[in-house]
């Protein structure tokens, strides 16, 4: 898989990792890095909202669901209310259909179960038309 990784650095994509878990922060940051996507990390939904309130914008947000202070569902709803229209992909260990629907209904564009891998991240990028496979 490594030799076939798309290098998206030229596309100047940016992403925000929203997760309270330091292990996942590190892994998601590295995955995005590997694809050449510049990315920032915040620890919960409130910090994600604050980042956007301060004027920062991203092409993609990787949003965890369970976080303290403001969870992923609340943060996604808030961001959409603020008029943030960028792509938001939910990334969570919760696979229950009802919980997934609630998360999607909050305003997600895509959803992947953790653990996130390169192939899952590429799938997100393709689904959200941030990476088009040349044929």
């Amino acid at each position: 898989m490594a030799e076939k990784l798309p290098k998206l650095a030229k596309a100047n994509l940016t992403a925000l990792v929203v997760d309270d878990n330091s292990v996942n922060q590190s892994i998601h940051h590295k995955l995005l890095d590997r694809l050449g996507i510049q990315n920032d990390i915040v620890c919960n939904g409130k910090e994600a909202v604050d980042a956007h309130s301060s004027g920062r914008n991203y092409d993609l947000i990787l949003m965890d669901m369970d976080m303290p202070i403001m969870n992923g569902i609340q943060a996604t709803k808030r961001l959409r209310e603020m008029g943030i229209s960028c792509k938001i992909a939910g990334v969570t260990t919760r696979a229950d259909e009802e919980e997934k629907k609630e998360f999607m209904d909050a305003g997600l564009n895509d959803f992947q179960e953790k653990p996130l891998t390169i192939s899952k991240l590429i799938s997100i990028l393709q689904n959200l038309e941030l990476y088009i496979v040349k044929t």
Binding site: M1, A2, N21, S22, V23, N24, S26, I27, K30, L31, R34, D66, T93, K114, P115, T117, I118
Partner: protein, 145 residues
Amino acid sequence: MQRQVALIKQSLFDQGYLDEQFMALEELQDDANPNFVEEVSALYFKDSARLINNIDQALERGSFDFNRLDSYMHQFKGSSTSIGANKVKAECTMFRDYCRAGNAEGCLRTFQQLKKEHSTLRKKLEHYFQLARQAGPKETARRPK
């Protein structure tokens, strides 16, 4: 030495301590981050030690707040899944099942086993990373057969 490192890693998979997620993390290592997996593992053990402490304190209080315990274990399971800690993850799942069943004895028993698996994994990975550093630049990660 490289062969010894490879054999140790293979045994960790064969004995079920690690799963494919660990391999996926090794594939992310590059010249910029040659010790990425060791760094992530260190984060995991730091984070999980805190969670173990929280759960220990909650259990010592004697009152079983199953919702709180389940919440701690959800975090623990998430981290364990992310680094491929297969046996630890399995114990986390079992603990959560006992929480949902309101089975305090099951929780206590499973938690003791979880701590053992966690401690064993920590020692084995420390040994593996130490040898890997001595052996020099890592080989390209290969999936175990």
